[in-house]
Amino acid sequence: MTISLAVPDVLVARAKAGDLEALEALYRAFETPVYNLALRVLRRPEDAEDVLQETFLEVVRSIKQYRGEGHLWGWIRQIAASKALMRIRREQVRQTEELYEESVAGVGGGAGVALGVDLERAFERLSETARAVVWLHDVEGYTHEEIAEQMGKTVSFSKSQLARAHTRLRWMLDEGVAR
């Protein structure tokens, strides 16, 4: 997802001063990209909404530490990714993964379904860690070093997860498993 949203400096300054209207304006500006990132990684809308809420609570708490270096979206995205990855580590999410994969597998797309939809379904069937690595690397543009740091893993782990995920995506698309 490409974010070209520019936020006026004066809005950031007001938000830093604790102005609720400015904070809400920031929320409105970034709620969709934050939610989208969290949903792609976590898959469950309620988890993604929770990450959205946690992310903005953190933004409100820490906005004074944002020094204006780099795009504000980059700073907020870092928080959102961190919150999403933290949620992955929680046991309850992992426990429901297998059940969810089975339910997704049962939903058929049928012939003529657009490739994008197939890819979306195939992507959803990856493990949470694999989805996080693929989304952060391929879509959000994170480097393996950044992913490794965020996940508390090695660069090799990130590269290996990405390779395995793409191998699996290719296989699911070739075999029509995602349909």
Partner: protein
């Protein structure tokens, strides 16, 4: 024939591939197609539709922010009351505390002054040989002590308690001058062997 692995293809995509992988993918149609498919997948991932939250979470964020601010104000309120109570206690107990400390200091400097007075009496200036310079120094010191004695005498007895710090300071100055006077006379006496 060995083909590129997915790691090789991703390295090619990221511009980090080995020379072998770059040369191989240029020559091998299968791996070229795989690389193209990889580019396609990544492009399609980027083009996936943007999902929007079903519920507005801003009210929950706003409520949490307001609740945190309220808690902070209340916490500051408790601290403010505690700080005010501490200041009030200081103001209430300060006179007693200050007076007792000042009284002790006053007694100490008065005792020092009395000791120095006794020392000075042992060296009778009228019975000693003295230089003009020493005599001038001792006279200046005695004048200083006299000035301080005059100030002490002028202090209103009703104000003595309120101005105890000032009283201690005056007595301390008197002691300092007397120490210098003792030193001047003893030095002179030692110098002349008396």
């Amino acid at each position: 024939m060995m083909h590129c692995t997915m790691e090789d293809l991703l390295a090619l995509q990221g511009g980090e591939a080995s020379v072998w992988a770059r040369e191989h993918v240029a020559a091998c149609a299968t791996c070229g197609a795989e690389l193209e498919a990889l580019y396609q997948r990544v492009a399609q991932l980027k083009a996936l539709p943007t999902r929007r939250p079903g519920r507005d979470r801003w009210p929950a964020v706003r409520d949490a922010v307001l609740a945190a601010r309220r808690r902070r104000r209340e916490r500051w309120g408790v601290w403010s009351v505690a700080a005010a109570a501490a200041v009030a206690a200081l103001l209430v107990f300060r006179p007693f505390w200050t007076t007792s400390v000042d009284a002790a200091d006053l007694a100490r400097v008065k005792a020092q002054s009395a000791t120095l007075e006794q020392q000075l009496r042992r060296y009778d200036p009228d019975g000693q040989v003295t230089s003009g310079r020493s005599a001038a120094l001792c006279a200046a010191l005695e004048d200083g002590i006299a000035v301080i004695d005059g100030e002490l005498a002028q202090l209103d007895p009703n104000q003595v308690q309120a101005r105890s710090a000032e009283l201690v300071q005056l007595w301390q100055q008197r002691v300092d001058l007397m120490q210098q006077l003792v030193s001047a006379r003893v030095t002179r006496a030692a110098y002349v062997g008396l």
